[in-house]
Amino acid sequence: MNQTSAETRTVVVEREVPYPPEKIWHALTQPHLIEEWLMKGDFQPVVGHRFDFRADWGAVDCQVLAVEPNKTLSYTWAAYGLESAVTWTLTPTGTGTRLRMEQTGFRPDQQQAYLGAKAGWPRFFAALGEVLARTN
């Protein structure tokens, strides 16, 4: 593909919320609360735990990577060939918490390693990149 896709892709959403980290942690880690704002899933705040988030459009496969109560939570996020990891960071402020979500997509070579020979995505993305390079 093009040059930018050779790098890791990251999405960051950050907000100040007027609540203490402990309260936000509950919303991030208790399945009946997660379901209310994110998706339905059998999440457990245990490193290595595999679970999925389900919605009417499909499912996201996840595995817990890191848990530090009231501070940080990280899990993989895989759906239809889009491999990524989502990390939540909670930082207390004077009036509440700065809540940061960072989603990082794997680099194409890592993605290729993950998908292995069974998928033609690398070839597809390469072809797509050529097409786009010409279109631009």
Binding site: R9, A27, W37, G58, M101, G105, L128, L132
Partner: protein, 107 residues
């Protein structure tokens, strides 16, 4: 937003279908006959693949006499390419819902 991704990925997951799409991107508009000659599968199979590609918005057809010409719609790939802005929009909306929930938890 996920729906658009799902449809595109499912549509392009098939190697024959992907090859047809790539050929249309590379060589421009073509008839079913011309595509069949190089696809390695039967004409009905090629037609079926084109139907799926059309449903996903990846190709457009144009009738001329008894021939149907197909061309690639590269714009349909925008949903895949613009992954980061799609996900950012997704997470912004989830943050909104999370804040609503936190507010309700107060009560």
């Amino acid at each position: 937003m996920r729906h658009a991704h799902d449809t595109l990925f499912r549509t392009l997951a098939d190697p024959t279908r992907r090859a047809i799409f790539e050929r249309l991107c590379r060589d421009g508009e073509q008839t079913v006959g011309a595509l069949t000659a190089r696809a390695g599968v039967s004409q009905p199979a090629v037609s079926k693949h084109l139907g799926v590609l059309k449903q996903a918005g990846l190709v457009r057809d144009r009738h001329e006499g008894r021939q149907t010409h197909y061309s690639a719609q590269r714009g349909a790939l925008a949903a895949l390419i613009d992954w980061t802005s799609q996900m950012a929009g997704f997470w912004q909306s989830r943050f909104d819902r999370l804040e609503d929930l936190l507010k309700r938890m107060d009560q």
